[in-house]
Amino acid sequence: MTTFIQICIDAASLGSLYALAALGIGLLWGVMKLINFAHGDFISVGAYALIVPSSAVVPTLFIGAWPAPLMIPAVILVVASIALLAERLIFRPLRTADPSTLLVASFSLSFFLQYLILMIYGARPKAVTVGSTLNAELTLGPLRTTYIDVVTISATALLLVAVALFMTRTRFGIQMRAATQDFRMARMLGVRANAVIATAFAISGILAAIVSFLIVARTGTLAPRMASQLVMVGFVATVIGGMGSLVGCILGGFVVGVVSAFLQFVLPEDLRATRDAFVFIVVILMLLVRPEGLVRLRSQKERV
């Protein structure tokens, strides 16, 4: 029983990260049919913003040295600005382009950001100590966990509630949901496309910034491709959750997290390294059974 709860905590913590990544990606898919491969680089930008730009092996903390109430908004501001800039310069001119063009544009942006980081900071991974105290062990009765797991789960819960409130209680949020359902119709009814899409990018940036904190605190390292694996899983989660449905993205993220955590436990020792292969086999099976995703949106069905 204890082992089971232990696995559940692992699954919830991993699933939280995946859900946050999937939500950041799913928002943009919903409003403009963009599969944003650069989301991972938004996360890296947030993480690298913590240190002084230089290729020195031992990094000097920059924003990372500030007290948390100042540091967190500062990083969010940096990432959200990058996301908004990308929207204005790249994705706004391409709004009517077809999804494959958008996709390759986001590859290119990802490529650009990745090597920009490499050019400025160097390719070597760097060790940083922002929030590393959170890795201390936390014992609750028979359960052993770490503070970072608890922080990850609760931060995710908070963010999801915040996003849910935003989506249901504010004008922008309601407009965004309308745009996700039927963008053209929403525009005809007076929803401003530019404002809605820019807001989606900003929120996506905020989510990316939070994920960069959670990753840095957990791993203590910075590397130009630190978030690529996470984001790959994020896409998969978005799709199996149901493209365009925000609840679906979150659900998809947790499902992948749970499957990964349980496979880690169930698989025999010598197959554990190939865990991801099994996760992806499950993904293909899920897609075959429910190609439209776990949460089916009525509006996503193709009309003739």
Binding site: L103, V104, L109, Y115, M119, V236, F280
Partner: protein, 366 residues
């Protein structure tokens, strides 16, 4: 059997796209070899290998409209299959103990190996294609991505056969500019024949309107599977070529980076035409090479100027973004290169009853 009455000139004009592409490709090789700069010869040979990859991607993606993130898995399968057959006679029995005896203890001729490796890739494509290609749109793209991830994880952990994350070193280096050119020509010709064939046209119909095509009685999954298997075969060939061109293979060579850059070439060139696929490869490879040379430094008077590491990729990223923003449908905008229209008319009247193939009709509409 009307074709028999068509004069050779009319035949050339009607299928001018493929002839022009092949002649240009061959001319590039002849000029390069005549210039004789060794680095340049290698660069051009690599362009031909890339052409095999991107045109093979085009056979599936361009004609079906379904983006596949997973096709590079077949490049990996081809490369390793060829390595098992041709590489490291002395080391193989000890280092790759998981191989069956006919591979572990024997070495096969390179051409034979290239064909069997490509067939293996096509077979795998066939088997995995049957379930995956029943999906459409983004779910099918993500399923192909899952395929790439699965193949990558298996090959990087199957130590007794692939040496895991270590490189396999010492593949025979028989691929030079001519071998690469030969395969590039073959893939271009096959892609052209396929897209002008009944099957290619059926698949293109599903690309334009999936619902209408299905209502018209086209079995979408089957048409996609045909293109997918042909594409898988040539991606396998490309893997063989890469392995025997570089001499070293490792699983990391055939993963996300190659996927991204190949898709970028296809889309920047224009994924809806064969010409677009070829143009994308040539243009992006040329830009990359120029940037690479700029990054390695140049001399102004006695001053050696060198760009910082990474500036090559940063500039490439900016250039790709600009190309996409200004030409969102690709450089060719979905059109094929063809003999000028005015000349086509006169040739056609001379050629007698040559009915315009659906393909040329499409170019004129574009």
């Amino acid at each position: 059997m009307r074709r028999a009455t068509v004069s050779p000139a009319a035949f050339l004009v009607r299928h001018s796209t493929v002839f022009i592409l092949v002649v240009l490709m061959a001319a590039m090789a002849v000029v390069t070899v005549a210039v004789g700069d060794k680095t340049l010869v290698r660069t051009v040979a690599e362009i031909y290998i890339r052409t095999v990859i991107v045109v093979a991607l085009y056979i599936f993606i361009g004609n079906s409209g379904v983006i596949s993130f997973g096709s590079i898995a077949f490049v990996m399968i081809g490369a390793y299959a060829s390595a098992w057959q041709t590489c490291c006679k002395a080391l193989k029995p000890m280092s790759m103990v998981g191989l069956p005896d006919f591979l572990r203890l024997h070495t096969y001729p390179v051409f034979f190996a290239s064909i069997t490796s490509a067939i293996l890739a096509a077979l795998v494509a066939f088997v995995v294609g049957i379930p995956i290609l029943r999906l459409s749109g983004i779910p099918s793209s993500i399923a192909t991505f899952a395929l790439l991830a699965i193949v990558f994880v298996i090959y990087s952990n199957w130590n007794s056969v692939t040496l895991g994350l270590l490189s396999v070193v010492g593949l025979p280096l028989y691929v030079d500019i001519w071998v690469a050119l030969g395969w590039a020509v073959v893939v271009i010709v096959v892609a052209y024949i396929y897209q002008s064939s009944r099957y290619g046209l059926l698949l293109r119909a599903t690309r334009e309107d999936e619902v209408a095509a299905e209502a018209g009685g086209i079995n979408i999954a089957r048409q996609r599977l045909i293109a997918w298997v042909i594409s898988g075969f040539f991606l396998g060939v490309a893997g063989v070529l890469y392995g025997h061109f570089v001499g070293v293979i490792s699983v990391k060579m055939f993963y996300l980076d190659l996927t991204f850059i190949s898709l970028a070439m296809l889309v920047v060139g224009g994924m809806r035409s064969l010409t677009g696929a070829v143009v994308g490869v040539v243009v992006l490879s040329t830009i990359t090479e120029l940037l690479r040379r700029a990054e390695s430094g140049f001399h102004v008077a006695s001053l050696h100027i060198q760009a910082p590491v990474g500036s090559q990729e940063v500039s490439l990223g900016i250039i790709m973004l600009l190309l996409l923003i200004f030409r969102p449908n690709g450089l060719t905008n979905g059109r094929e290169i063809a003999w000028p229209r005015a000349l086509t008319r006169s040739a056609r009247s001379g050629g007698g009853n040559a009915d315009p193939s659906p393909d040329t009709a499409e170019q004129h509409a574009g």
